[in-house]
Symmetry: C2
Subunit: 380 residues, 2 copies
């Protein structure tokens, strides 16, 4: 097969550089994650989600008036077309929340005033709009599927506080708001993770941001990606329900060659720097809400898996117990991941379309040799 | 950045082998395309779309009873949930057909009996179901948006004849049925084209076939991918409307450094072997339907672009005039591409999930150096 590199397929493109990017810096061996060069630890401690969005979309931290303006623009987009609410209502009870979110995000294209433009400014407007809309869709669907009324957005609140208001029907405590805000900052971007890569592959055909973000929501669903936070909590719930010893339970899983969800990461050989913050948050939230058992169980599982398999917890492991204590149902954990990651997806789509090239690799063909004759049906 | 190959980014992964595959063989320098080793010319001349589906999904040509069984299974799936028809009805008039198709395909997940299973047999069932459903969605939406009643499927017809019946409200002539069938065979698969690659990236997270196919529909929309057939026809329509000379018109485009849609392909340096068949079909259909002008214009444009730019027409160029003569509106050309390519997408998702590995490349970071300090807002 000519015009193809002679190297054999690197399965999963592991270690292959697929594009240049100025958004996210990761050093997996040193446990470093940084957005636009700013260390995730500094952002987790000091930033707010809106400021992190600004950083991702515009490439630098905002001045005060710039941040206020972005907060205002995000708040101004806090309205969903009635048809989208209707779509959420009409989804059958058995539908999976990530499938509903993907369908709703796809349908948002119908109503987007900038749909036919792929230029930089239109894409920034779509980034702002989709970030507001995805938060509202997840919160509203969280209520609709339980037969509860949709809560009106409050434009005076932060993105995180408004999300918790629209999900839970009451303004969150400052601790809860800060906890979610930190989780949204930590999940906002992670270079060419599978959903972001799916978004860039899609955008690179010159399809638009809605097509790209719909693809990303599809990819995020998978158990090897965003779906892992839900799986991590289901494991803990099972251990709790069966009143099992967490270490015995996980030992059995490992003996059966089962993967423990929330551990290991293709990119990090050290601790996932996001887990460092989520561990503390899970502990503090658990204590302050009188539900310390999830953190305590997490700690035991972490210690055992580390000792047995030399695997570190990843971003999914401690976000599970954190989200649970925030009153988020476990099947909304992955949608909440999308509420954050839309900021990174949008940044990558903007970057891709600013200097585009179709992403079209090759496969190494291992099938029947050509020419394999077309045998008439009566002779098969 | 450690554990990353030291080579600089190959933009667009051009020439990079992303996976092994036994589905589609392409030799771009010799102009060869083959499904499971069988040359596309043999398939175009002898096969039917259902047989090609069998070949793609099961890896070999079917015996007669196997082919009859697959035809029956495809026909048995010719029913759409009422909620999907409702979704098509509720899409605003301004919605783009590819966005409506993407949203409807995403919503099909809600009603799929195999949704929670990703095993091989479940995926084959989903492949059959989605192939039937996507054809019906495109045909039904083609009518609904014009205020026409939805046509009931006819389970006794071939996939192609049923599609044309449901789109046009009458059984197609044998010539029209054969023309569409050949177009569906020619478009069925093309290795790791961008939409198939988006599907594999999505499926590789262990998200399901519906997530993967939704991503693929998103990617197919782009002007650098499936969207090119519509663009090619719009160009010809414009030339016809302005009563311009095709060669003068295209010469002006080239002088303005504009790309002529339907020419050139990343993989083929020779003629796209699919264009060979579509050229003949476009000519014959044009003559037999009394609309030879589109083919004649295409021929002039081809000759000129070949001479001037040494670019060959690709699959999109002659499918444009073919589809037009078949009574398909130009903004349904890309959806019709999906009616065919679902067969290849499904084959690739099945292959991906049969031996999965997460597809997660790296980016070469070119942004601000880490650590770039977090400066407090009052000091920015």
């Amino acid at each position: 097969m000519s015009s193809v590199t002679s190297t054999p397929a690197t399965k999963g493109l592991e270690g292959i550089v697929a594009t240049n990017s100025s958004i996210c810096y990761i050093d997996g061996d040193r446990g470093i994650l940084a957005y636009r060069g700013i260390d995730i630890h500094e952002l987790a401690d000091n930033s707010a989600f809106e400021e992190t969005c600004y950083l991702l979309w515009f490439g630098r931290l905002p001045k005060r008036d710039e941040l206020n303006s972005l907060r205002q623009r995000l708040a101004d987009e806090r309205h969903l077309d009635r048809a989208i609410i209707q779509l959420l209502r009409e989804a059958p009870k058995t539908a999976l929340p990530m499938d509903v979110l993907r369908t709703a995000v796809s349908a948002l294209a119908f109503y987007d005033p900038d749909l036919k433009s792929n230029d930089h400014e239109a894409n920034v407007r779509k980034a702002i709009r989709l970030t507001s809309q995805i938060g509202m869709i997840v919160a509203s669907y969280g209520r609709i599927r339980k037969g509860k009324p949709v809560v009106e957005p409050d434009k005076s609140l932060s993105h995180s506080a408004n999300f918790l208001l629209m999900l839970n029907g009451e303004k969150p405590s400052p601790t809860a708001e800060r906890a979610l805000d930190m989780a949204l900052i930590l999940h906002a971007d992670h270079e060419l993770n599978a959903s972001t890569f799916a978004a860039r592959v899609t955008a690179a055909t010159l399809a638009d941001m809605h097509a790209a973000v719909t693809a990303a929501v599809g990819a995020l669903k998978g158990a090897l990606h965003g779906g892992a936070n839900e799986a991590a909590f289901r494991l803990m719930e099972k251990i709790d329900h069966e009143k099992a010893d967490p270490v015995d339970y996980v030992r059995d899983m490992l003996a059966q060659k089962k993967k423990v969800p929330g551990f290991g990461h293709r990119v990090y050989t050290t601790e996932d720097p996001r887990a460092t913050h989520l561990r503390v948050m899970s502990r503090d939230l658990g204590r302050s809400s009188g539900q310390p058992k999830w953190y305590e169980m997490s700690e035991k599982i972490e210690k055992f898996v580390k000792a047995e398999k030399k695997l570190n917890p990843n971003v999914d492991f401690y976000s599970a117990s954190t989200y649970h204590v925030l009153g988020i149902d476990e099947d909304l954990f992955t949608p909440v991941f999308a509420v954050s990651r839309i900021s990174g997806w949008a940044a990558h789509v903007i970057e891709q379309l600013d200097d585009n090239r179709l992403i079209r690799p090759r496969a190494e063909y291992l099938g029947p040799e050509h020419p394999n004759r077309y045998v008439p049906i009566e002779k098969r």
